[in-house]
Amino acid sequence: MSILFIIAALVAVVAALMVISRRSVIHALIYLIISFLAVAMTFFLLGAPFVAIMEIIIYAGAILVLFLFVVMMLNIGRPAIDQEKQWMAPQGMIAPIIMVVILLGELGYYLLIINRTYKTSAHTVTAHEVGQSLFGPYLLAVELVSFLFLAGIFAAYHLSRLEVDTDGHGEEQ
């Protein structure tokens, strides 16, 4: 189990690195999808198959499709790729890389030296348990999220509404 987990985690990390280093937006997106699939696999191996499947359906299958949709609307040609190349110049990346390495070192030190009690797949969380905790202790959070979604839907509807001038004085206000 541990080997499988390490492989999936490695794929996720490598894919995530590829996402930020690709010049073509589409290729970066494909790597992001692969990264999400790998993360789903790690969730699965940690004993949370429901979260894994939701990761695939919602993140890989819906949200990234919307990303792709937007990318397809943009006309990305040679100039955009050249600009991307400019932004990826090495001298601009040194400072962020040093900071990230420091953070990564701290995380590794904490996980490997101080707190060594990480475990994989203690028990499998079923869909039933997920539902029970969503509508039990986390009910308030679920309700708040649904408010947020409702507000989002209304906002999107309002922004995309066609301004049809039916009675002659709709546009002035």
């Binding site: 494909i30 359906i57 499709v65 397809m72």
Partner: protein, 318 residues
């Protein structure tokens, strides 16, 4: 060891059955369309024109497999594989008979939904990597359509899940021992079937490839076996949606007298024929009508169905 062999034989059995069914569907569709449109269809090669399938296969294998120089090569090659892989993976959770399924996971229904949502990438990547205006428009249409119809495809199945009390397809079939779910879940069945037609982008919903306006939509630059993969992928997904409809709403492999596999095949076949009949009889709607239909009519209906089913299930449990 014996279990391994049993499992392997199930895997290869399912693969071969699915691919053969998809190949013969091409012939079946042309014959049935011809029947309903008052013509003969392919009837020359072999008995009833059955050898048309091998003839088509030979033809498609020998066609030049051309990748346009302006295309994004890697994505162009990967796109047709994605649809075939995702659909074949979905077949892994289909219960063909008691004990005959490649895997029977507890979240089988969600696995099917996940795979069908990943299949979207095939169309999208094909359209975007072809670097062709028709392909791009086709892919844009496909993305918006598949996203919209996926939303209530999942919702329409939640009634079934509530009645069966499980995401496991085997348990869903077992729960229909006395009453097929099509009776308590009739709206769910209609919604799921409409969503299924849209997911396979078949004729009333074939705007992504609408040949009269987009030449061939997202696969317009494809030729040879890569086009063949899209073609087979489409027929595989028809078979899959038909098999899933039979599983979720029509009792799967359950039925009197005949062995379970035969019942399952018969039910699946009936829905495949329904797919073809719908193609033969319905015209294509306008694109805005298609999306308005999904969001303004079908989605509220699916939500209502979930609400009412949940209320009844809770009331009966009291």
């Amino acid at each position: 060891m014996r279990m391994m062999i049993g499992q392997l034989s199930v895997i290869f059995g399912v693969l071969i059955a699915a691919l053969t069914a998809a190949a013969f569907l091409i012939w079946l569709e042309r014959r049935l369309l011809a029947l309903w449109q008052d013509r003969y269809g392919p009837n020359r090669a072999g008995p009833f024109g059955l050898l048309q399938v091998p003839a088509d296969m030979i033809k498609i294998f020998f066609k030049e497999d051309w990748i346009p120089p302006f295309a994004d090569r890697q994505l162009f090659v990967a796109a047709p594989a994605i649809i075939t892989i995702t659909v074949l993976l979905s077949f892994a959770v289909v219960p063909f008979a008691p004990g005959i399924a490649v895997i029977s996971p507890d979240l089988g229904l969600l696995f099917f939904l996940g795979m069908s949502s990943l299949a979207v990438y095939s169309v999208a990547l094909a359209g975007i990597s072809s670097n062709n205006k028709y392909s791009l428009i086709g892919a844009l249409r496909a993305l918006a359509q598949l996203l919209s119809y996926e939303v209530f495809m999942g919702l329409s199945l939640m009634g079934v899940v509530m009645l069966a009390g499980s995401f496991n397809l085997n348990k869903i079939v077992e729960a229909q021992r006395h009453l097929w779910f099509v009776i308590p879940q009739f709206p769910g069945f209609i919604l799921f079937f409409i969503a299924g037609i849209a997911e396979t982008h078949r004729l009333p919903f074939d705007l992504p490839e609408a040949e009269s306006e987009l030449s061939a939509g997202f696969h317009c630059e494809y030729s040879g076996m890569k086009f063949g993969m899209f073609f087979v992928g489409e027929y595989l997904s028809i078979t899959l949606i038909s098999a899933m409809t039979a599983t979720f709403f029509f009792g799967g492999w359950q039925g009197p007298l005949l062995p379970p596999v035969i019942w399952f095949a018969l039910k699946t076949f009936a829905f495949i024929c329904l797919f073809i009949l719908i193609r033969a009889s319905l015209p294509r709607p306008r694109y805005d009508q298609l999306l308005a239909f999904a969001w303004k009519l079908l989605l509220p209906l699916a939500l209502l169905n979930v609400l009412i089913t949940a209320a009844i299930v809770l009331a009966l449990e009291r």
